[in-house]
């Protein structure tokens, strides 16, 4: 399956997402999980599955005072309209964790 996972928490849910299996896995960081994208500490990024496409919601970054220019290169910044396209065009199922 092509699975899009919305992560909304900074610390919890990572045990669940780490063992999800999907032929294509997308992780969209929203809410407080966006702090992972801003961290200089690579260990923070390691909490996310290695094989996943990583997205981070622009509105939630800006809301928290995080500049998109400072993000690690593996994160693609997306907006709500982009998320709609991810849900309909790129992935078959979506879950919120």
């Amino acid at each position: 399956m092509k699975l899009c996972v919305f992560m909304s928490e900074y610390r919890s849910g990572y045990d669940i997402v780490k063992r999800l299996e999907a032929e294509k896995l997308g992780i969209v960081l929203v809410g407080n999980s966006v702090y992972h994208a801003a961290s200089d500490n690579k260990a923070e990024h390691c909490m996310l599955p290695e094989n996943a496409e990583l997205y981070v919601l622009a509105e939630d970054l800006e809301c928290r005072g995080i500049e998109t220019a400072k993000l690690a290169s593996e994160f693609r910044v997306v907006t709500y309209p982009d998320i709609v396209d991810l849900i309909f065009d790129e992935y078959e199922k979506s879950v919120w964790i």
Partner: protein
């Protein structure tokens, strides 16, 4: 016409919030969804308890006695009575120190015939793969 399978994956612990109870209530509601559907259209639910969600499955809950609310155990039994597929993650039971004989396995006293399935995570992953839609609670 057709069947749409929905996997209700419960990872939340019981009682502090109503999340797990809502999950089971929504899964049970699939049994009457046909009133809004065409003939032959069926919603097939499967309830999967993973992670901390396995704590919901411990039997001998007495929330009615102490707080006047229906127990999660009762909700699971209602699901089994309606022949919903109930799966409990074996690895997560072990990880949480819950014995397999300590979880809700049937609703025999209510006349139910279905039994919970204590399954390896891989079997639950297969259910998620084959479901049309996933809901994590």
């Amino acid at each position: 016409m057709g069947i749409k399978k929905i996997a209700f994956v419960i990872r939340s612990m019981p009682y502090k919030t109503e999340v797990s109870k809502l999950a089971i209530a929504h899964a049970i509601a699939s049994q009457t969804a046909e009133i809004y559907l065409e003939n032959g259209e069926i919603v097939e639910p499967v309830l999967c308890f993973i992670g901390d969600g396995v704590f919901n499955c411990i039997k001998n809950q007495h929330s009615m006695k102490h707080y006047g609310v229906t127990s999660i155990e009762q909700h699971i039994k209602n699901a089994l009575l309606l022949d919903l597929k109930v799966m409990i993650c074996k690895e997560d039971l072990n990880k949480s120190g819950i014995r397999e004989d300590a979880v809700v396995m049937d609703a025999a006293e209510m006349g139910g015939e279905s039994r919970s399935i204590i399954a390896p995570y891989q079997d639950i992953q297969k259910e998620m793969n084959s479901a049309d839609h996933l809901m994590f609670f």
